[in-house]
């Protein structure tokens, strides 16, 4: 995924924004889809697609517990994504100045 695509993807939904804020403020959060959804005032089915997008770009990681998928912040993936977006924004700013 290109930097532009990553940037646009993260901006594409309010839910992704809520999830990013939740995991950045609470990096030790490890929870099921329903548990994560509850913490941002939603239900699991409503956030599933956005969660999958974030897993695909390695911002979130997954693991199995008791047949359920649990989510956690992939700290190295999240850091890499942040750097990619920061560099993209610097380039965009540079090219418009």
């Amino acid at each position: 995924m290109s930097a532009n695509q990553l940037f646009q993807s993260m901006l594409s939904s309010e839910i992704k924004g809520d999830l990013l804020v939740l995991f950045h403020k609470n990096p030790g959060l490890i929870d099921s889809l329903d548990g994560v959804a509850r913490r941002i005032g939603r239900v699991g089915t409503a956030i599933q697609a956005d969660v999958q997008d974030m897993v695909n770009v390695h911002i979130l990681g997954t693991r199995q517990i008791g047949g359920r998928e649990i989510l956690f912040l992939d700290r190295s993936g999240d850091k890499a994504a942040q750097e990619t977006i920061m560099n993209y924004l610097k380039n965009v700013r540079g090219s418009t100045e």
């Binding site: 403020k25 609470n26 990096p27 030790g28 959060l29 490890i30 929870d31 099921s32 548990g35 913490r39 693991r63 199995q64 517990i65 008791g66 359920r68 649990i70």
Partner: protein, 264 residues
Amino acid sequence: MARQKTGIVELDAMLRGGFLERDAVMVAGSAGTGKTTLALQHLVNGITKFGEPGIYLTFEQLPDQIYRDAENFGWDLKKLEEQDKFRLVCTSPDLLLEPDGAGQLLDSTIKEIQPRRMVIDSLNHLEMYLPHGGDMRKEAYRILNYIKTKGISPLAIWETQQSAGQAFSVTDVGMSFLVDCILLLKFVEIESAMRKALVIMKMRGSDHEKELKEYAITPQGFKIQGSFSEYEGVMSGSPHKVASERFVDMFQKASEKHKGGLSH
């Protein structure tokens, strides 16, 4: 016998040097008695004073609230996390109750920071999520033993109901026998003000202070202030002054009244 200090000097003295290493400790008390503060301080002191990394496992409170509350006492938990000496893990109780839940949730964190202390906040949340027919004692026993076999000393928080005059019971599900040490925190009403009392209810394998002590939550954290030697019935929640102190009070009041009469 190796001791694990809390770093709260007066409390360590009450414990005759600290908790016994690898003992399961329960801090029980009603809402607002300072259980979380005491537990956090035990972890922070473990890291900053004794070089023992720690994990705080929470179910209800989100980590960002705990970071904020800790900052009020001058404890920078995020900095300790950056130094790989502390982790604040937040999850749902039902995941921890899964057969391999503890391992899946905690093994990687334990490998990462090699903790010596862990706080579970709180066992009440586990009880809420027990499947129908589940046995809380069995599950709590399993989880506490998982932590101990990793070489970590667990400290579990248990919220009790506070009812004045009621017969004392640490837990509703009879879990006192599962833990090695129980600290009870309690509100007491003295002269129309709510004060706080701490008592060591149990400490397997060690002598400990038997007296109730008054404590307060100060800007620096949990602080033990003194005893309730002037009072009896403190455990009831509504103590009264002991006979000798009542006599002194009566004498002083009579004396002041007498002086007031003489001056007219």
